[in-house]
Amino acid sequence: MAALQTAAAHPLDGSLAEWVWLLPLLPLLGALLNGALALWPRLSGVTAEHASLEARETETGRRLAGTRWLTSIVGPGVMLAAFALTVAIFFTMRGTADLVTPFVRTYASWMPVGDLRIDWGVQLDQLSVLMSLVITGVGFLIHVFSVGYMASDGGYARYFAYLNLFVAAMLVLVLGSSYPVMFVGWEGVGLASYLLIGFWFSEKANADAGKKAFIVNRIGDFGFLVAMFLLFSTTGSLDFVGAHSALAMASPAVFTAAALFLFLGCAGKSAQLPLYIWLPDAMAGPTPVSALIHAATMVTGGVYLVARASPVFAGAPEVSLFVALIGAISALFAATIALRQWDIKKVLAYSTISQLGYMFVAVGTGAYAAGVFHLVTHAFFKALLFLGAGAVIHAMHAAYHHAHQHDQDAQDLRNMGGLRRYLPITSATMWLATLAIAGVPPLAGFFSKDEILASVFARAQGSPLASATLLGVPGSVLLYLIYAVGIITALLTAVYMTRLMLLAFTGANRTGDHASAGLHEAPSVMTIPMIALAVLTVVGGWLNLPELLPLGPTHLLSDWLDPVTGDASRVLGGTAHLDHGTELMLVGTAVAIALIGIGIAYARFRGSVATKENAVPETGIAALLGDAYRVDAGLDRTLVQPLGVFASRVLWQGIDQRIDRAFVAGGALISRVAGQAHDALGAGDVGRYAWVIVLGVLAMLAAFTLR
């Protein structure tokens, strides 16, 4: 397929787009370089001359310090280059007229087996280039931020190696021209996230979190794999272009199955119910990592996949409804938990799950553009929030370090308060992001979230989706329900975000007088990226203005993405459109909800709270929410433990080892018994021997004569 595609003339032939292959390679190069830097003290034989661990590590540290500057340049540098290239390619594409078919380039054959043809190839189209822009752009900013954040960390080079590796994998994910290539990126980002979550591996908890993330993602990957097999056995191809074009003749069952399995993958990667459990733990990683991987980019991979595979989902409306439903439930579920978290990053983590839920609501209802729109804006403000949190934690750490109170929790909201005084920039930028996520106009979040809710409402009113049914329930009902959930979630979002801000930045400082002396604003290398993101948070909305508010060219994003997802979205959503009255009403509701939420939060969390150590343990619903409904413990008891017991007690010790012992013991027993019995037969007495012989003779004679 890819071969054909490249054979046919494409407007982008020979243009700057030909350089797209460089995009993943740049960060990969950075990863290799930094990796080498991280390892070179060992390669250059530190081990050989330093016996003791301490000596070895000090020496390693000394040698690494020498290369720190290089890492600081390489790490962000490659990102900048990649970003620049992406921008260039983007504008080339903007400049190219009638860009309808994707621009596919294959560079090498990967798995050619019989009729199976899998090639190393990239596919450049409106969707992938947009994703690349976000990844490289936000990625670059976060790299820069990291330079400051990780400055004093021993694993500096290693950190940047992982981070670059992640970006490379993410770019492969979005640029790959076929499902398998995408899968490479898909698992690649999983690996990077595994490594980065467990970056401070000396803490067992961190390593565990990484492991958990990887394994839960694997469950999703199982779905992805099966979907691939199904697609191949149906269409005989795995390229996006080839497979999707061949889907035409496939039966509905195939669409359903494929879409379901694909969504399982998405749920894993994008932390939707029931596979969301890994994301909160993933906060164990360095905060910039949380910003990049677990907010801005990787976790949106699922959303991207649904958009990418829109032809498949379009063929299975009931699955699309299901996707939207799961999204809505996740959104609400996570939001409720976020209300009662004290760890600043945990709040953000659950908020991420909730926001991803919105995106799935969008793509599930076929509003792919809206979904991607929210993806982009969310990338901006959620990244900003995490960076802000990072700055806070950075400051708190410094403070406790200053006060030698290492046992204190630097991430607990109850230990903060009144930080506005110490971190003005951070608090300002974070307030912007908070308003955005809460959906206050004219910030980015408002537009994207509003568009999602609007499109859901519109489709509920009348569309193929509305006329489809999921398990007998008519689509329209579900869609209204989803809309309602969306509104409630919006309210909760406003509440818990405002709560976070109030607890962290307003009121009296609870860090402790001694420690608070050490609080200070982050260095500019960290603040500048935050400011940049803040700007994006403000202007992000302009990417896709509704007609309702013509503050500029409208529907830029929707039109841009139309060649990719347009058909699918029309198949599902039809041409559902809202009249201005309704739309105005919806917008009004949304804004009102947001403001109400903020209001509630102010009313509730204005006053100060007890610090962590002298906080009274919560009870009832609050405790339940605080423990995230105790899902982890439940799973552990009902699934993980029993499986382990089964494996060890039954399969291994119960069967394998028993077989083993039986083999040995049985052999010995048989031989002993037989031997003794036999010796008893003769017992060395010739007379007895004669007896045996005569009996033998009798038997033989009988055999001969008794016939």
Partner: protein
Amino acid sequence: MTDFALPGALMRALLPEITLTIGTLILLLTGAWGGELSSPTRRSTRFAIGIVLATAISVIMAWMKGDGGTLDGRLAGDGFRYAMDLVLLLGTAGSLALLDTDQARTRAYQAEVPVLMLLALCGMMFLTAARDLMFLFIGLELMSIAVYVLAGVNRSSAKSAEASLKYFLLGAFSSGFLLYGIALLYGAAGDTRLAVIGSTPAGPIYLVGVALLLVGMVFKVAAVPFHLWTPDVYDGAPSPITAFMAASVKTAAFAMLVRVMVEGIEPAIQHWHPVLWWLAALTMVVGNVVALAQRNIKRMLAYSSIAHSGYLLVAVLSFSPAATAAVVFYLFAYTLATLGAFAVLGIVSEGTESATTIEDLAGLWHVRPGLAVVFTVCLLAFLGFPLAGGAGFFAKWYVLRAALASTTPLMVLVVVLVLSSVVSAGYYLTAIASMFNQKRHASAMMPVQTPALSAAVMLVSVVLLLVFGVFPTPAARLAAVATLGAVPTTTVSSTDAR
């Protein structure tokens, strides 16, 4: 012919036996006269080996001269006889060499022992040739009586005496049955010649005769349940004699068995085939399983030799030229392995009275790698393991092939054979393991240096085993020439149906 002069044909037919007998008589006389020399035994042993070689040459000459069947069909002159003779001579020569080694250490034997071995050999050679139950009986007794004595020649050992008595009593007992069988067959057929018997319809007397004859023969090949004497006798008799019994006596017994089966009692095949089927199965299973329980190596080898009789019986049952060829090849390989094994055993046991157990072998490889390797090769040959076990593998292979190629494929028996071989791996490997895997006990004394003759025996057996283990063709061709009878016309209603 009323004159006593032996006709030339008979002369030719008996050339090997005559050579042997004359040589033996000379040896006996020299022994009688030169009794005062330093070590008459060792000298006469060497001399005996010489005689054996001479006999071997005469056998080859006789064979090349072609068929010397004579005395109106009372003696066979076919390839089977000569091939078997050669195997017998090999076994005897080897045992003599071991005897010499043993004598050098123990001085337990008298000058007449080699003479007895040669006389026994003479009887065996008549067994391979006998086409007349009379010769068969005489040959058998000649062999047996000599071996009864041989089992007891170590006069300082009570075990030896006990072994000899047990062997004697049971042997005589069983030959009583054999003789009765012969008598009845003679009565039924009116003649003791196999040819005549083979062409007589099987009446009741005939059948009873066959049954009793079989008893006598399977006693000699130590098939279950007529095997109980074997471990005791093997254990009690001096190692060289045990080797002689394990190698040559068994060979001769099988030669007799095969010839009688194929040429003599074929009319009763419907009757004896199922019986022998069960005997074979029983022998393989019991032999191997019981061997597992043995710690005393000589007893272990005794049971393994019982099991081998089982394998050979399978070949006998398949009842075809290919099968007899398989028997010949098998006995050849088996003789080699036996000689090698007992050669090592002779060194390791240091001629002491106490039985050598598997524990005594522990760590042998660490002190005397050569011995360990030789013993291993021989055990693997018993096991029928390819390459490392050498010709032993092809021996098993030919048996398998014959069994499957017979008019009614002995499927079940083949499976029994295979499975019991797996069992046998159990004890062979244990012995090997104790040689290689374990450290030498501090208490264990160092084996003596290998004397030249034993070394020669080991070398010859191992080299031949390994060479024929890769290129069995020459030996196989000889064996193929040495086939017997034709494929039976009567198809056996096989017990293997079950």
